[in-house]
């Protein structure tokens, strides 16, 4: 079988995400009631039969390590392979560059020993903060069928913040001939930061990059090699959420209230696994009123919840109203609170009679462990 080694870049922290990335990286941001962004990427890999996954980290990775543990919740606690956490300074020696890094190519150069050690013939690179449900096995099949050197997954329509995104231009034969990075305005054919290639090719690119002092992957080595390599696109039509800033986080969170979006993200045949917390089912009291909301396990709802997303272990007291809001794990909303367009990070406590309102373009963000 043609198997892949999975490598996930989990170190990005977009400043537009404000308080949400203060305690963590974008890949570790909680999403959709019980997940972290990286769960989608990990589950896509596990769903494609990948049993060897390396997570490339740089700083602020405590949250991520705590979340991933041994990888057993994703079935990645394996005797051969399994989950590997790759912080900077993982390897020493001549071959591996040690220390911190700025671009993806630079980051890969720090883990060449890990890549060399893997027995899989193919490698898939992915951004840990790109949320989508994709059959990577289909992408690999296409990659082999088209005899591409590199297959890049892209979205026809733009999804990300242009200042954080990369777009492709195609030649007449469908090959990628140009790469536009971080333009002022969004374009078509946005890169989803997912690449499949033979492991040997990746190793060669890393070597070339090191020789040429290049740190970036797409806007560095890939752009340089476009004329000599067959780089083909794989268009992914499923729902994609990118969390480049708080407004995007809010918009993509609210989107999951749409059944069509949920169906795409939570495809039963490619399940997304989350860290198991062993919560009891959610309890609704006699006075609970809940409309158009996504509710995780372990909550206790005694108030009014509308157009909202509640993570695990949230409490909504009698007389409290939660509208158009996202309350992360263990949030407590006490009596007679009214909130609308609020994103409350984990362990936020909103004491009685408070009123907080933001709007969709600028939601109120309450930092982790805050008391209001």
């Amino acid at each position: 079988m043609n198997k892949m080694l999975g490598l996930i870049f989990a170190y990005s922290r977009y400043s537009g995400m404000r308080e949400l990335v203060a305690p963590r990286t974008a890949a570790s941001v909680p999403y959709a009631g019980r997940y972290r962004a990286i769960d989608f990427c990990l589950s896509n890999m596990v769903g494609a039969g990948i049993t060897d996954v390396g997570i490339i980290m740089r700083d602020s990775y405590q949250s991520l390590m705590d979340h991933l543990g041994s990888g057993k919740d994703w079935d990645l606690s394996r005797k051969n392979g399994g989950l590997f956490l790759l912080p900077p300074f993982s390897y020493g020696g001549e071959q591996s560059h040690s220390g911190t890094f700025t671009g993806k190519l630079d980051a890969l150069a720090g883990v060449t020993s890990y890549i060399a050690h893997s027995r899989e013939p193919y490698v898939v690179l992915a951004d840990g903060d790109c949320i989508t449900n994709i059959r990577l096995r289909d992408v690999l099949a296409r990659h082999i069928e088209t005899k591409a050197d590199i297959t890049v997954v892209c979205s026809k329509l733009p999804v990300g913040d242009p200042a954080r995104s990369i777009y492709y231009r195609f030649g007449e034969d469908g090959r990628i001939v140009g790469i536009d990075s971080h333009p002022e305005r969004a374009q078509e054919n946005e890169s989803l930061g997912m690449f499949i290639m033979e492991k040997r090719l990746l190793q060669r690119l890393i070597q070339l990059g090191r020789a040429g002092d290049m740190v970036h992957f797409e806007r560095g080595i890939l752009r340089e090699q476009l004329s000599s390599l067959r780089v083909l696109p794989y268009f992914h039509a499923g729902y994609v959420a990118r969390l480049h800033n708080v407004a995007m986080y809010y918009r993509h969170s609210m989107a999951i209230l749409d059944p069509a979006v949920r169906e795409q993200l939570f495809d039963r045949n490619n399940p997304i696994r989350a860290r198991v917390r062993d919560d009891a089912p959610t309890y609704y009291s006699d006075n609970a009123v809940v409309k158009n909301s996504l509710i995780a396990a372990g909550c206790r709802i005694e108030g009014h919840v509308e157009n909202s997303i509640l993570f695990r272990g949230v409490y909504v007291a009698p007389g409290a109203t939660v509208k158009n809001s996202i309350i992360m794990q263990e949030g407590k909303v006490l009596e007679n609170v009214f909130i609308s367009h609020v994103i409350a990070d984990k362990y936020v406590y909103i004491s009685r009679d408070n009123m907080l309102m933001g709007n969709a373009a600028y939601p109120v963000v309450i930092a982790k462990h805050s008391t209001v």
């Binding site: 959709a32 198991v276 009891a280 959610t282 006699d286 609970a288 009123v289 158009n292 995780a296």
Partner: protein
């Protein structure tokens, strides 16, 4: 092969639970779903782990496939251990003969070799029939303090129910003076919970003697306990006064599920200091549609609710269509309720499908108890179907 363990647990999980009818047709009673995300066996297994007992033998016999698949490596209960952990113990062929587990005592007897691998001082005998949270370390401490041969967990039951249980009498020092299995005229209301701590050396001798007695039914309640008492063994009671419920009948299973909804129920499922572990499905959070209403209910992950839910327990991945009404019911994983259907006082087993506008069960309260309607696993009822209260389909 293993290191010594002070105390190991043996969980009797081979019972059919015939009074649960269609719910146990393809699975042993301990595998029956309970409380919106659990199976009955999660309770004794979690109690073991939370009590620091990391070696559990699970004795299976009747329809064991669902149970074996569910327990797997024991990882959800943190019982995948290098030294100890959970071990599934079905009956097996020996070099000379092989036989089914004849009774509870015989089942343990047949696993003497298994237990001796751990060279235990004490053995805790449990059953997979009850919903309760109990710290077994306190019972074990009492057992040690009294230098007992056997300690039995007991609960005070109403006098009119006492004849359903093994009833004990004890002196002021908690020492057992009398034990009668299902007495017609009970002398006390202290009922055995079927939870025993034995000093292994004593139990081992007793099991061998019992096996050699052709007149014995090889049962703990009928033979081992009365025999030990007769011979003057040191036997004590360990009183328990919190929530404990046998879920051996359709009505008691339904009632115990309803109990979990009550804020006054002493057993709190969501107590982080004594979690009940279970195998978790990979389903997203549940979704309540704009037209959905949920009151006084428990809802698990993966559900989609567009109808009205009252006083009900919904397991994972249940779908309730627009205009449907579900009251006083238990909907097991994957059940689907069509639009405008009405489901009342019912237990719908896994993957049942109820057509649009169907009428399942009803609120008729019988003087002899609530009439619960039961629909067996995988049954699909057409649009407009009518199922009378108290019916069992399947």
């Amino acid at each position: 092969m293993y290191g010594k363990k002070e105390c190991i647990a043996m969980l009797l999980a081979g019972g059919q639970g015939s009074r649960l009818h269609v719910l146990t047709r393809h699975m042993a009673k301990p595998a029956v779903p309970f409380g919106g995300k659990y199976r009955i066996i999660d309770f004794p297994l979690s109690n073991c782990v939370n009590s620091g007992i990391d070696t559990v033998g699970v004795l299976t016999q009747y329809e064991p496939l669902a149970l074996h698949a569910y327990i797997g490596s024991g990882q959800p209960w943190d019982l995948d251990r290098a030294n100890g952990g959970v071990h599934i113990l079905p009956p097996y062929m020996r070099s000379k003969s092989g036989e089914w587990y004849k009774g509870t005592a015989n089942a343990i007897y047949q696993n003497i070799q298994f237990m001796e691998q751990f060279d235990p001082e004490y053995v805790l005998i449990l059953s997979g029939d009850h919903i309760y949270k109990m710290d077994y370390t306190r019972m074990l401490a009492l057992h040690k303090e009294k230098h007992a041969d056997c300690t039995i967990a007991v609960i005070d039951v109403p006098l009119d129910e006492a004849s359903r249980f093994g009833i004990l009498s004890a002196d002021a020092d908690s020492r057992i003076t009398k034990f009668v299995e299902k007495p017609r005229e009970p002398e006390s209301t202290l009922a055995s919970m079927g939870i025993y701590v034995f000093t292994w050396k004593v139990l081992r001798e007793r099991l061998i003697a019992d096996e050699n007695d052709p007149a014995s039914e090889n049962d703990f309640g009928k033979n081992i306990i009365p025999g030990m008492l007769k011979d003057g063994c040191r036997m004590y009671v360990h009183p328990f006064d919190s929530y404990w419920k046998d879920v051996g009948t359709i009505n008691s299973l339904w009632e115990a599920n309803m109990d979990m909804l009550s804020p006054k129920c002493p057993l709190r499922l969501n107590d982080p200091s004594w979690r009940i572990y279970s195998r978790n499905p990979a389903s997203p959070p549940h979704y309540v549609a704009p037209e959905g209403t949920i009151r006084h209910s428990m809802v698990s992950e993966g559900c989609t609710i567009a109808g009205t839910i009252e006083a009900s327990v919904l397991f994972n991945d249940v779908k309730v269509g627009r205009g449907a009404q579900v009251r006083y019911s238990i909907l097991m994983p994957g059940a689907e309720i069509g639009e405008d259907a009405v489901v009342e006082f019912a237990i719908l087993a896994e993957n049942t499908k109820i057509g649009h506008g169907a009428q399942i069960g009803g609120s008729a309260i019988d003087p002899l108890g609530t009439k619960i309607t039961v629909i067996a696993e995988g049954i699909a009822l057409p649009d407009g179907a009518q199922v009378a209260p108290g019916t069992t389909l399947g």
